[in-house]
């Protein structure tokens, strides 16, 4: 043995542990200082009155839940359902061996992913009644909003579902066909159930996006009973001259979106571990 065993010898001046403590301490110190300065500058009673006014927050209930939250959830769920069905159709079209189906699906996906969501909302909300006189989207403004959400979600979901279908090993289709299943039956019973399992985490994230994007419905001019969380919060903020309703609406969103995001993360991790 000629090599000296590696020793964490004392560095000239300062030990490693001491230096690490110093750096960490500096970081904590800076954080505390910044927070303290901001806290000292803020006008706390003013802030609390404007953003977290208990009395005004209390006055929002139960309507903010029975109207605002309810409409947001309805919009999100409808949009998701439309997106899922249309997205699956588009994914199958993209995988079709008939070229016109592939082209149509590709064009659809590119167009709807390339346009601002607000433009689609306005297009569906105002364009459809103008283009087809005497006709409206069923469900009124809510229907139009859900349709706009679904049309765009479908474009994103189609790509996700297609990737999921392609991620199912080729041998699955071969095994199903060798048992005498026709192509469509093999797709429906064997490939698509596995593809959906693969795409559940990204789909959950899609649901979070939809929930937030549903707030664009306010641009379609909704009735009092059709107000979603954002519109409800904004209206009451205007009426009360206070920002608290916006804060409460925000909290309502987070109550939906944070658990969903966590769920998606958990599902993803579980999938990575290869569990069922």
């Amino acid at each position: 043995m000629t090599a000296e065993p590696l020793k964490a010898g004392p560095a000239p001046g300062m030990s490693r542990r001491r230096r690490r403590r110093l750096v960490l301490g500096g970081q904590y110190g800076a954080f505390v200082v910044v927070v303290a300065v901001l806290a000292a500058l803020a006008d706390w009673p003013q802030l609390q009155d404007n953003f977290a006014n208990y009395g005004k927050a209390k006055g929002l209930f139960p309507e903010i839940l029975t109207v605002g939250l309810r409409n947001t959830v309805v919009l999100t769920a409808l949009g998701f359902a439309i997106g899922l069905v249309l997205g699956l159709v588009l994914a199958l079209m993209r995988l079709s061996s008939a070229a016109p189906y592939r082209w149509t699906a590709t064009a659809y996906i590119e167009v709807f992913r390339g346009l601002p969501l607000l433009l689609i909302f306005v297009f569906v909300g105002f364009g459809v009644p103008l283009a087809f006189p005497g006709r409206t989207v069923p469900g009124g403004t809510t229907g139009a909003g859900a349709l706009a959400l679904g049309l765009v979600a479908a474009a994103y979901m189609a790509e996700t579902i297609r990737a999921g279908i392609e991620a199912v090993p080729k041998g699955q289709m071969e095994a199903a066909r060798s048992l005498g299943m026709p192509y469509g039956r093999a797709m429906a019973s064997i490939v698509i159930p596995q593809a959906f399992r693969i795409v559940i985490p990204p789909m959950t994230n899609q649901l979070v996006l939809l929930c937030k994007d549903s707030s664009l419905i306010m641009f379609l001019g909704i009735s009092l009973g059709g107000r979603d969380l954002t519109k409800f919060g904004r209206d009451l903020a205007g009426q009360l001259g206070n920002t608290t309703p916006i804060v409460v609406a925000g909290v309502c969103y987070l109550i939906i979106t944070i658990p969903l995001s966590q769920l998606a993360r958990w599902l993803e991790a579980r999938q990575r571990r290869g569990e069922r």
């Binding site: 090993p169 041998g171 699955q172 071969e174 095994a175 199903a176 066909r177 060798s178 048992l179 005498g180 299943m181 026709p182 039956r185 019973s189 064997i190 159930p193 596995q194 399992r197 290869g274 069922r276």
Partner: protein, 267 residues
Amino acid sequence: MSARKGPGGPAEPAGDAGAAAIEIRGLRKSFGDNEVLSGIDFHVDAGEVVCVIGPSGSGKSTLLRCVNLLEEPSAGTVRVAGAEVTDPDIDIDAARRRIGMVFQSFNLFPHLTALGNVTIAQRKVLKRDRAEAERVARANLERVGLADKVAEYPGRLSGGQQQRVAIARALAMDPRVMLFDEPTSALDPELVGDVLGVMRELAEDGMTMLVVTHEMSFAREVADRVVFMDGGVVVEEGPPSRVLDDPEHERTRTFLARVLDPAGQGP
């Protein structure tokens, strides 16, 4: 003849006795410019077990996959149980019901239990009701020695168990012939025996089997005939004792020497 067209149920052809269960004539298959099968002629009689051996890339698996049309032959005809599967007008799904296939990589459906794997095609293709399908499935899972694994998902089964579920899945469709595509090549050595044991029992029960394999001892003991393929053609075929122990062709001899003594240090 029979079983053409008509999704109207599993049309059983009147068993023309004496006819070959599988009959292959002038079979060619190319992938682009690469000709993998260059004119194959042979047959498997009903109740016969034929093992196909040969170096990798010799076209064995492609040959097998042409029998149930997982690969579309470029030329030639394949008849199975009297029906010409290469006829463009045939109902290929009906024909495939009578051809069981076992894959090298098992290809079990991971989202279904062992029982689900064995029942799904019975229910969706043969339209058996749940009770009947489960009865058949349990009987076949028991036949392959897995009566206690009925409720397990494939992910919780060993490779050998998965392959035996795959065999049960194919058997549940009451196939007229069974195709095996290197069924033990993906298995750990200690699991090979269970699968070969099931196949041996199947052979003893009189199943018509076409087996692509590297298991020379299985071929020797179970096969009625051994077919040696190389370079997309059948080089020689005959009883295992002749092909394996006293081959006529130099190519067969070279291959067997390499397979039976991979380290190359034999006598």
